[in-house]
Amino acid sequence: MSRGTEKKSVVIALCGKGGVGKTTLSASIVRALARDPGNRVLAIDADPAVGLATALGVTVRKTVDDVRNDFIELVKKRQAGDRERVISLLDYEMLGALHEEGNIAFLAIGRPETEGCYCQVNDMLKDIIASITGNFDYTVIDAEAGVEQVNRRVLEKVTHLLLVSDLSAKGLNVAKTIREVAASAVGFERAGLIINRARSASEVDSVALPESLELLGAVPEDETIRRADIEAVSFLALPETPAFGALEQCLEKIGVAAKGSCAAGQGA
């Protein structure tokens, strides 16, 4: 296929403080986008905790960092070969790390464990990830908590930056900081704030939100989603809920239309 020429690839990254529900919203967005079987959706779990895999019912066989670490072992054994061989090896292994199910593909970044500077490998991996995202209509990145990742690896090609927070001052401050850092580090087209687990509209209205952040909307606390999190049920198997509906409105506000009204659960 040649999606790159047919349709512009949308790359959505969800960033914010730890514990505000980035993974929950990431899985919910993947669910919303994948309802249209014509959409090719790539979910990238960039959080070392690999929670998105669980939320999408995916068993991770290999992560990007597994690929990286295997490669580093080859370097140590002096079996890596020249640049062309290295790139072809990484490209092959990365495709092997891509978990595909229906119209959804999944890639886990994993947890870097090998010390030492392997900047060239990281750059090659970044390029390969960028080339993979170009094959999808939508890429949803569940980013690591905090600001560190904004500058690194997977976030460079982001087109839509979603800052996720609860109503806590800490959460909102982190969202504001990420927005500021991202302004110079990430060439995104749109950015906005989603308040997660809001108890009521009046509660959202009562909090002074950072002026630099465009509020896309608030996603209410949702018992169905809470139970799914507790019981490790794939979000792709969940019915429509008010929270999913609110999130889709946020997506529409930022210019990402989650089309399609057929049942969820096309993939993983």
């Binding site: 296929m1 040649s2 790159g4 020429t5 090719r40 079996q79 070969g81 020249d82 062309e84 061989r85 072809s88 090896l89 490209d91 092959y92 292994e93 495709l95 092997g96 891509l98 595909e100 199910e101 229906g102 119209n103 593909a105 080339s131 993979i132 170009g134 094959n135």
Partner: protein, 246 residues
């Protein structure tokens, strides 16, 4: 130079054996007119018509060359097992061997030319065809889209496109292809033939990338002691080529 002539003989034996058992079809390459795709494109699982050499399946792929032009049946495509149109919806083990007739190879240009020939397949961009390969492991994994299979993409078409690229290289004079999809055992058998190729390439890589010429500690003394061309390459790089004594 005749680095790979033993391997080519083994390939011939493999093909003769398959022919004798009725498991070999030979045809000519198709014209190289398949529309181009985009470099690096992925054929996703949902769009895949035929998958070849998935990492979970057996896979073997290598390229060899010879200066004995008569040893290469130019434009021939040998197929052991089903072609793509006969495999819709399947994931098959996959073996591929490319035999090139070349000229002008010597100890100085051999390594660089071999690398150039090895990289040709990575430049292949065909609509509905995805290929990822690791030369180090002789593995090649490809997917052909459902649309490409429906449009008639075949091994002869793939070979035609590859042949067109190889023929653009001035020292390539003939191109022949072997594709194996019949069984994991057959692909494994092809891979055993190819394993010697990887040893020879490994030795060449080592010579090109390392300054050490200590045969006593080298992992490739087995192939160097057998293959005169490798020893000559090594001499040419400044080593003593005392490998024959080890």
């Amino acid at each position: 130079m005749n680095l790979f002539d033993d391997t080519i003989q083994q390939l011939r034996s493999f093909l003769d054996e398959k022919k004798a058992s009725g498991g070999l079809r030979t045809m000519k390459v198709s014209p190289s007119d398949w529309p181009a795709g985009e470099k690096g494109n992925i054929v996703l699982g949902t769009d895949t018509g035929v998958e070849l050499g998935n990492p979970r399946d057996e896979s073997a792929s290598f390229m060899v060359w010879t200066e004995k032009a008569g040893d290469v049946r130019d434009g021939a495509v040998h197929i052991v097992g089903p072609d793509l149109s006969e495999s819709a919806g399947k994931s098959l083990p996959f073996g591929k061997a490319v035999i090139l007739g070349v000229e002008g190879m010597d100890e100085e240009n051999c390594y660089g030319r071999h690398r150039a020939l090895e990289l040709v397949r990575y430049d292949l961009n065909l609509k509905g065809y995805m290929m990822r390969a690791v030369s180090q492991y002789l593995r090649e994994w490809s997917r052909v889209s459902r649309q490409a299979v429906a449009d008639g993409f075949s091994f002869a078409a793939l070979a035609g496109a590859l042949a067109g690229m190889y023929r653009k290289i001035e020292y390539v004079k003939a191109v022949e292809f072997v594709f194996v999809t019949s069984s994991a055992a057959d692909v494994r058998s092809l891979g055993e033939t190819g394993s010697r190729v990887e040893r020879l390439i490994g030795a060449m890589n080592k010579m090109a990338q390392e300054m050490s010429f200590d045969c006593g500690t080298c992992d490739f003394t087995d192939v160097c002691s057998e293959v005169e061309d490798l020893r000559n390459m090594r001499k040419n790089l400044g080593g003593d080529a005392d490998v024959a004594r080890h």
